[in-house]
């Protein structure tokens, strides 16, 4: 077997290896490095690349990767798993979406791929990561959360030809009911879109909420769904669970709050909306009703702001448009 090396994680044969990939330097000159896990099976097969915490406060994905590896039997695995459970490590430490060292350009790592060697911190991080991803990955799954514990949806690049077809089959094997075949002109700079443009079938999973807003039961559920994708890809044996028809969308709409204040949501993730459905209630500082937030679109709730407070411009609701069962 050829040597598999991602940063300091090195695997000569089968088994599991751990190490770090350097993605930049800290302000004190020490290396900024992200954890890497490698798992290689006894039989040949594809390389599935997993990463979590592209946004630092979306920790559910790290716990999913960790559990998958704790339960991974490489003797029964065909192919290789490369996993980077905590991609945006400095943001993770600061318990926020973006790196605290990004004071200038915003720094959304999932808009910075494929990155550049001489860009901002986040662009340099993206470059260090994507170079390895492009060299090794046959498939990519990117684990995200939205805001609340009840978030459950997925999106795949609706690319022409084989890449789109294989991405879709991963989404069906994963099997979240709410699924977006993502138009190729959205989410530019996401690892998913960049990988798809480079011929790598991809999937983004959105499961759970920010910070501690996810449960151990959800982690187990996502791990089992990942194993089902691995069965679909022929990486582990066993019957592939059929999840039945999914609800596809034409696109999504981010709806920003045009009013700030204390906020109490009135809808849950997965709920159907009409134009004008009450999304939540605003209150002033004295507890008096200060208006309702109404849905500007029909569709299905992908994400909703949990309150209890929000400022103008925060994401109020994320809506899957034109739901149809397929």
């Amino acid at each position: 077997m050829a040597t598999l090396r991602i940063g300091t994680a090195v695997l000569e044969g089968t088994g599991i290896a751990r190490g770090y990939l350097k993605v930049g330097d800290m302000p004190d000159g020490r290396p900024m490095q992200v954890p890497v896990l490698l798992g290689r099976g006894t039989k040949p097969g594809p390389t599935l690349w997993l990463h979590g915490c592209v946004h630092g406060n979306e920790a559910c994905g790290a716990f999913v990767v960790h559990r998958l590896f704790r339960e991974l039997d490489t003797a029964a695995l065909s192919g290789t798993i490369v996993a980077l459970p905590i991609l945006n490590i400095t943001a993770f430490r600061a318990k926020q979406r973006m790196s605290p060292f990004e004071g200038f350009a915003g720094g959304d790592l999932n808009r910075s791929f494929p990155g550049r060697t001489d860009g901002t911190l986040t662009e340099q991080m993206a470059h260090a990561i994507y170079t390895e991803l492009k060299a090794h990955a046959s498939y990519l799954i990117d684990l995200h959360t939205a805001m609340t514990a009840d978030v459950r949806w997925a999106l795949f690049p609706n690319a022409p030809g084989e890449v789109g077809k294989k991405s879709e089959s991963m989404a069906r094997a994963f099997g979240f009911t709410s699924t977006l075949p993502a138009p190729m002109d959205i989410l530019a700079g996401s690892a998913m879109m960049v990988a798809a443009h480079d011929g790598i079938p991809s999937l983004i999973v959105e499961a759970g909420g920010k910070g501690p807003a996810f449960t151990a039961a959800l982690v187990s559920d996502v791990v089992e769904r990942l194993r089902n994708v691995m069965r679909q890809l022929g990486m582990v044996s066993g019957p592939i669970a059929q999840h039945g028809p999914l609800t596809y969308f034409s696109n999504f709409a981010w709806v920003r709050a045009v009013q700030g204040g204390l906020f109490q949501r009135a809808v849950h993730c997965g709920e159907r909306l009409k134009v004008g459905t009450v999304l939540g209630h605003y209150y002033d500082l004295w507890g008096q009703p200060a208006g309702e937030a109404l849905s500007p679109h029909a569709g299905v709730v992908l994400a909703i702001h949990p309150g209890p407070v929000l400022a103008s411009g925060e994401t109020l609701v994320h809506i899957g448009l034109d739901p149809r069962d397929v």
Partner: protein, 330 residues
């Protein structure tokens, strides 16, 4: 003593007669020179009676208390109220705006508002806030309840000022009427600088309620429950006419122990609030960046879990678990 002709003034809120008055209290200045003001609502009843003073969001990210106070205000009929409710639902407003415990303007000192009472007119930002707030509290309050949260949605406990004599007895009466099972008669030498202890020293019976978790980590049901328990305290104080509900025996503690994390890492909690722990009970696990278990954390004390860190990640020194010691049913 408040008489029928007394005008109650807290900031711009002036209550001269029956009804609800809203206004703002200036507690300092922002770095751009604009005033930092906090909301005040005064609900004055038709009958003469005590003044109940309420605080929420002393720590900015403990929003559940603001929602409990708001729920009370929305459902209060001043025509049937005896006495006055003065409510400051979002005390540490600049911290609340930022979703954090302490004010972003508390750049130098420690900045924990609940360690700064009675405050100082020429102190740090938070000392000056405390001073501006405490003046009205001391002038008007007959009873005081301060709403906090801990870390997780299942947090439910209370503590009252175990002061000598009448102040302690009346504080305990409020705690029993509020009726959360886990209750600490707080020794008067802890929580120095809290509004509760400062008020008790000034003869004002006081209670701290801990319900729900930080940020969005609280349920609507907890808000409704907190408001109903608060109404029960008001029944007990004679401010509402109905007979108070008897909650039965409570579990009292001798004190509490804050246990800080002696290492950092990803963290999974293994106990829930209200759970009994022995010395050595597993309370959680530290996990490394690669998913390996770094350490299983054991409780250093026997008692009842008052608060537990929910994870998913913590640094050295974070509050790991908060334990009520020597539980006994009374």
């Amino acid at each position: 003593m408040i008489t029928a002709t007394t005008v109650i003034r807290v900031g711009t809120a002036e209550a001269a007669g029956v009804g609800v008055t809203r206004g703002e209290l200036r507690v300092g200045d922002a770095p751009d020179g604009e005033p930092v003001t906090i909301p005040v609502a005064i609900a004055r009843g038709a009958g003469q009676g005590p003044v109940l003073w309420l605080h929420g969001c002393v720590h900015g990210d403990e929003y559940c208390g603001a929602f409990i106070i708001h729920e009370l205000l929305r459902t209060l009929d001043t025509g049937r109220l005896t006495g006055v409710v003065v409510a400051l639902p979002m005390l540490n407003i600049t911290a609340s705006q930022r979703g954090q415990r302490m004010s972003p303007f508390a750049t130098f000192g420690y900045g924990d508002l609940n360690r700064c009472f009675p405050g100082a007119a020429d102190g740090a930002f938070t000392d000056q806030m405390a001073h501006a707030i405490y003046g009205g509290l001391r002038q008007y309050a007959d009873y005081f309840i301060d709403f906090h949260t801990a870390l997780t949605p299942d947090t439910r406990w209370a503590l009252f000022a175990n002061a000598p004599g009448d102040v302690g007895r009346r504080s305990e009466g409020m705690a029993r009427a509020f009726g959360l099972k886990s209750t600490l008669p707080a020794p008067m030498d802890i929580l120095g600088g809290s509004a509760m202890i400062a008020a008790a020293r000034n003869g004002i019976p006081s209670l701290i309620v801990e319900m729900g978790g930080i940020g969005p980590a609280f349920e609507r049901e907890t808000v409704l429950e907190g408001a109903e328990r608060l109404r029960n305290v008001m029944r007990h104080l004679g401010m509402l006419a109905e007979k108070p509900t008897e909650h039965g025996p409570l579990t009292y503690f001798s004190n509490f122990a804050w246990v800080n994390a002696t290492r950092g890492g990803l963290f999974e909690q293994a106990v829930q609030c209200g759970q009994r722990v022995d010395k050595g009970t597993l309370v959680g696990r530290y996990i490394g960046a690669h998913g390996d278990t770094l350490e299983e954390v054991k409780s250093p004390h026997a008692g009842i879990v008052l608060a537990i860190h929910p994870g998913p990640a913590m640094g050295t020194g974070d509050v790991l678990v908060h334990i009520g010691l020597d539980p006994r049913d009374t």
